[in-house]
C-alpha cells in the first residue's frame, strides 16, 4: 500500500499521509475528498480546539471519511507531528479507554481508536459504535499502522519517572500552560514559565496516604529552570517566607502538602501529598532518576 519508502513519505507531506489510508476497508469506502489542515488553518476543522494540537509541534492533519450503506460513518484523522515525542504527547493528552496492541501504544473505547507510531498520531472514530464499526475501526487501524514505516522515540523525560506506585495511565507529556491547565489548574499566570521549549510530565502516584500528583519540568537551560522555580515560589507561596534552599515543602489548603525543588535544568513539584515525608521521598526519587537519565 505504501508507494514510497520512509523517506518519500516524509518528503511528500500530505500525499504521503494519504497513502497511509486505504480506499476501502471492511466494506466501508472513502466517502469524500480528503481534507488537509495545517497549523495555519486547523481552526477551520476544530474551531478553537486546535489549540491543543498547536501546543505540540503539529504540522499537518489529513481527514478522510469512510461510508457504508446503512452503517455509521468512520472518520480517520492522521496527525503528522514534527517529532515522535510530540506524537506521543498528543496521544497522552486523553488516555481514557482500553489499551490495545497497536502501534507504539493504542487506546480504544466507544468507537474511538487512537494510537501513535513514529511522528504520526492516528484518531479513528465511528459515528456510533456497533460490532461492525468496531471491527472496521480496528482493521483500519492495523492497515494504517502497517503503512507507517518506522517507530519513533518516546520522550526521554519519561525515564525520569520512578516506577514505584506510578499510575501509568495518568502520565501526560506536554510543553505549555494550555495543556497543563487542561489537566490540572495550577494558576492563571504561567508560573512555571512553560513554553514550546520546555518539556513537562504530569503523573499520579499511589502512596500510603492517598494519590499524589507529580509535575516534572525540564528547561533548555539551568537559568530558565531557576527563574521558573523562583516565579513559582513567589506566586504560589506568596503567603509564606521566601525559601533559602532549592528544596521546600509547604502545608497548604485541605491539609495537603506541596513540594518544590529546583536542580540544574529541572523543576520538580509534588502536589496533594498527605505529609511532608511523601513530598520529600518522591522528589528525591525523581531527582535520582534524573541524574541517571541526564547525567
Amino acid at each position: 500500500m505504501v508507494l514510497g519508502g520512509p523517506a518519500r513519505i516524509a518528503a511528500r507531506g500530505e500525499e504521503g499521509m494519504a497513502q497511509l489510508l486505504p480506499e476501502k476497508i471492511a466494506g466501508w469506502s472513502r466517502a469524500d475528498e480528503d481534507k488537509v489542515f495545517t497549523r495555519r488553518n486547523i481552526f477551520e476543522y476544530m474551531n478553537g480546539a486546535g489549540e491543543i494540537y498547536l501546543a505540540y509541534d503539529f504540522q499537518r492533519l489529513l481527514v478522510r471519511e469512510y461510508a457504508k450503506s446503512s452503517a455509521p460513518r468512520i472518520v480517520a484523522e492522521i496527525y503528522q507531528m514534527s517529532s515522535s515525542e510530540d506524537a506521543y504527547g498528543v496521544f497522552s493528552h486523553d488516555r481514557e479507554g482500553r489499551a490495545m496492541p497497536l502501534g507504539q501504544a493504542a487506546i480504544y473505547g466507544g468507537g474511538l481508536l487512537r494510537f501513535w507510531k513514529g511522528r504520526i498520531f492516528v484518531r479513528l472514530m465511528a459515528e456510533s459504535e456497533t460490532p461492525e464499526t468496531r471491527a472496521a475501526v480496528m482493521a483500519l487501524g492495523k492497515r494504517i499502522e502497517a503503512a507507517i514505516p518506522r517507530a519513533g522515540k518516546k520522550p526521554r523525560l519519561l525515564a525520569c519517572l520512578p516506577s514505584e506506585g506510578l499510575l501509568r495511565d495518568s502520565v501526560h507529556y506536554f510543553h505549555t500552560q494550555v495543556s497543563l491547565n487542561a489537566h490540572y489548574f495550577l494558576a492563571d499566570a504561567n508560573l512555571l514559565d512553560l513554553s514550546p521549549k520546555t518539556e513537562a510530565l504530569l503523573a499520579r502516584y499511589r502512596r500510603a496516604g492517598g494519590k499524589v500528583r507529580l509535575l516534572l519540568c525540564r528547561y533548555p537551560a539551568w537559568a530558565a529552570a531557576k527563574a521558573a522555580f523562583e516565579h513559582f515560589n513567589r506566586v504560589y507561596f506568596s503567603d509564606k517566607p521566601v525559601p533559602k534552599s532549592t528544596t521546600r515543602v509547604e502545608k497548604v489548603e485541605k491539609g495537603q502538602f506541596v513540594g518544590a525543588q529546583w536542580n540544574d535544568r529541572f523543576v520538580i513539584l509534588v502536589f496533594e501529598a498527605a505529609d511532608r515525608k511523601t513530598c520529600e521521598a518522591l522528589g528525591a526519587a525523581v531527582l535520582g532518576r534524573i541524574k541517571e537519565v541526564f547525567p
Binding site: A49, I52, Y184, D188, S238, E253, K254
Partner: protein, 305 residues
C-alpha cells in the same frame, strides 16, 4: 470577581479556598466551601427567595439505548420546562410570556465540529414549532449557529448543549454566543474570562428572553475532541432566563458526573471563569447556588443536582 488578588496571580490554592472566581467553587461542589455555605445559608439550588429560577426536566425515554432521540418526548419536555418557568399552565401562553408575534426571534443553537456535540435537531424543531404556535410567522424565526441576522432580531432564544471544555472549563449558554463576536479564538484566552462581552454587543444586549439547554447527551470529558466514553445520556432539558444561573446548574451536573465517573474528585479544569465573570463583571446573572432555585421535574434517577 471576588478574588482578593490580582487576576494574574490567582492560583489553585486561591481557587480551592474560595478566594477566587466567586461562587464557582461552590457550584463545583468543592469540599469545604460547600460545607461552609450550607452551614450559613442553606443548601445550593434551594433558595427560598431566589434571584433566579432554573427548571430541569428529565424523561427516561427521551433517548434510547442506541442514543436515538425521541422528538415527541423532547417537545413535551420543553413544554413542561417553559410552563414551569413561566408559571403558566397553558403552553401557548407560556411562550407568549417571552415572545410576541411581531418579534423577529433568533434561535441560536450549537454546531461544534471539534466535539461533534450539536444541539439536537429535535430540540431546534420543537422550539421553532412553539414560536410558530405563539403567533410568529415563519419568516420571523431565524435559526442558526453562525450567521444569525442579529440586527434584525428583536429577541433571542439561546439553545446550547452542555460540554466540558479544555479552554473554557464548561461551554453552555454563555459560551454559545462566542460566534457573535466574530473573534472566537481571541475569546479563548485567559480561560475565556471575557466571554460575557458577547452578551453586551449592541445587537445582542438585552435580547435574550429564554434559554433552553439540550442536556440530552452532555459531554463531561477532557476534550478538545470527543471521547465517546465521556458522553452520557442524561436525558434532560433545562430552561431559564438567567444564563449565569443556567450555566451554574449545568456546571454542577457535569462536575458531579465527572466525580462519579472517576470515583474521586475530578475537578473541571481550567476553572470556568467565564461563569464567574459573567456574574461579577458583566452582571448577566447569578452564579451563587444559594440564590438559585432549581425546579426538578420528571425522571429522578441520577439527576446529579
Amino acid at each position: 470577581m471576588k478574588s482578593h488578588k490580582p487576576a494574574e496571580n490567582v492560583t489553585r490554592r486561591d481557587f480551592l479556598r474560595g478566594a477566587a472566581y466567586g461562587t464557582v467553587g461552590l457550584a463545583l461542589g468543592l469540599k469545604g466551601l460547600e460545607g461552609q455555605a450550607a452551614a450559613q445559608t442553606g443548601a445550593p439550588f434551594a433558595a427560598e427567595h431566589p434571584v433566579s429560577l432554573v427548571v430541569l426536566v428529565r424523561n427516561e425515554r427521551a433517548v434510547d439505548a442506541s442514543h436515538n432521540v425521541n422528538a415527541q418526548l423532547v417537545a413535551e419536555m420543553i413544554d413542561t420546562a417553559v410552563k414551569a418557568l413561566s408559571s403558566e399552565s397553558d403552553v401557548a401562553k407560556a411562550w407568549q410570556r417571552y415572545f410576541r408575534p411581531q418579534d423577529v426571534v433568533g434561535v441560536k443553537y450549537t454546531r461544534c465540529t471539534s466535539h461533534r456535540i450539536h444541539t439536537e435537531q429535535a430540540v431546534i424543531d420543537a422550539v421553532g414549532k412553539r414560536l410558530a404556535a405563539a403567533g410568529l410567522a415563519g419568516t420571523r424565526i431565524k435559526a442558526d449557529d453562525y450567521g444569525l441576522p442579529l440586527r434584525d432580531c428583536t429577541a433571542l432564544i439561546n439553545v446550547p448543549t452542555i460540554k466540558v471544555h479544555f479552554l473554557t472549563g464548561i461551554a453552555v449558554s454563555i459560551k454559545n454566543y462566542i460566534n457573535f463576536t466574530g473573534r472566537e479564538s481571541s475569546y479563548h484566552h485567559e480561560g475565556s474570562v471575557k466571554l460575557g462581552e458577547a452578551w453586551l454587543l449592541p445587537d445582542v444586549k438585552g435580547k435574550t428572553r429564554l434559554i433552553i439547554v439540550d442536556a440530552l447527551r452532555p459531554y463531561f470529558g477532557l476534550g478538545p475532541q470527543i471521547n465517546p466514553l465521556h458522553r452520557w445520556d442524561y436525558k434532560g432539558i433545562l430552561a431559564g432566563s438567567d444564563p449565569v444561573a443556567v450555566d451554574t446548574v449545568c456546571l454542577r451536573i457535569a462536575q458531579t458526573k465527572r466525580n462519579l465517573f472517576k470515583g474521586e474528585e475530578w475537578v473541571i479544569s481550567p476553572p470556568p471563569k467565564s461563569i464567574a465573570s459573567a456574574d461579577t463583571v458583566y452582571r448577566l446573572g447569578t452564579s451563587d447556588p444559594l440564590k438559585i432555585k432549581l425546579i426538578r421535574l420528571g425522571w429522578e434517577k441520577d439527576m446529579l443536582v
